[in-house]
Amino acid sequence: MKTRIKEFRAKYNLTQDELAQKVGVRRETIVFLEAGKYNPSLKLAHDVAATLKTTIDKLFIF
């Protein structure tokens, strides 16, 4: 699975730590998400998408 989290994060000038705090996870989880090495729960995927003002479809490429 590929993600565009890094791209959207750069767009809104957010660090991994800031995004992690906003969605209530550890920074490490964001690192794993960006690398496509972790399948998030639907809630986390929704929270990340909402924080980055996009949709799950656009953020995660299956």
């Binding site: 992690a20 705090q21 996870v25 550890r26 490490e28 989880t29 794993f32 972790y38 986390l44």
Partner: protein
């Protein structure tokens, strides 16, 4: 408080706890040991509340679940081997008979607790999802029967092992 600081506090509490418990065992002051454990639990809980960062998230819980499953499997296999060896040695020294019995009950207890907690959590989740009591019962019938049978076998096994022994 940052997570890093919290980890250091945890480490310090653990170190102090080990020293106090060692002292308590050597001086046979068991109340001191119990009080130290209680104080450590309270101190860690209070400190935990002051941490502003996320201590654990869904990924950690997922890993914890996998770790628990592996731990359970490894413990069960190791205990089964130990029980088998103790039963073989029981002919040479009767102490191993007791060792094998205690280990057997310990393994049974761990497996039962794991199964019971898993079933309880599943039933709670099913209740939350709006399933009726009848549906929940029909979906968990086999597991509930297995757990009840397990309790019966446990009690019967206990009586055979201890009560009927001459």
């Amino acid at each position: 408080m940052t997570l890093k600081k919290y980890n250091w506090v945890q480490f310090a509490v653990m170190a102090v706890e080990i020293i106090i418990i060692n002292f308590a065992i050597q001086s046979k002051n068991y109340l001191l040991g119990a009080c130290a454990v209680l104080a450590a639990v309270i101190a860690l809980n209070l400190t935990r509340k002051k941490v502003t960062q996320v201590i654990a998230d869904e990924r950690d819980y997922q890993l914890a679940g996998t770790a628990a499953r592996y731990t359970l499997n490894i413990i069960t296999i190791c205990m089964a081997i130990a029980i088998f060896i103790a039963m073989i040695w029981a002919d040479k020294d009767p102490v191993f008979q007791t060792v094998s019995t205690v280990l057997s009950f310990a393994v049974m207890g761990i497996l039962f607790l794991s199964g019971a907690i898993h079933t309880t959590l599943r039933i709670i989740a099913q209740q939350k999802s709006g399933l009726s009591a009848k549906e929940i019962l029909s979906q968990n019938k086999i597991i509930i029967i297995s757990l009840i049978s397990f309790i019966i076998f446990f009690i019967v096994g206990f009586f055979i092992s201890y009560v009927d022994r001459p």
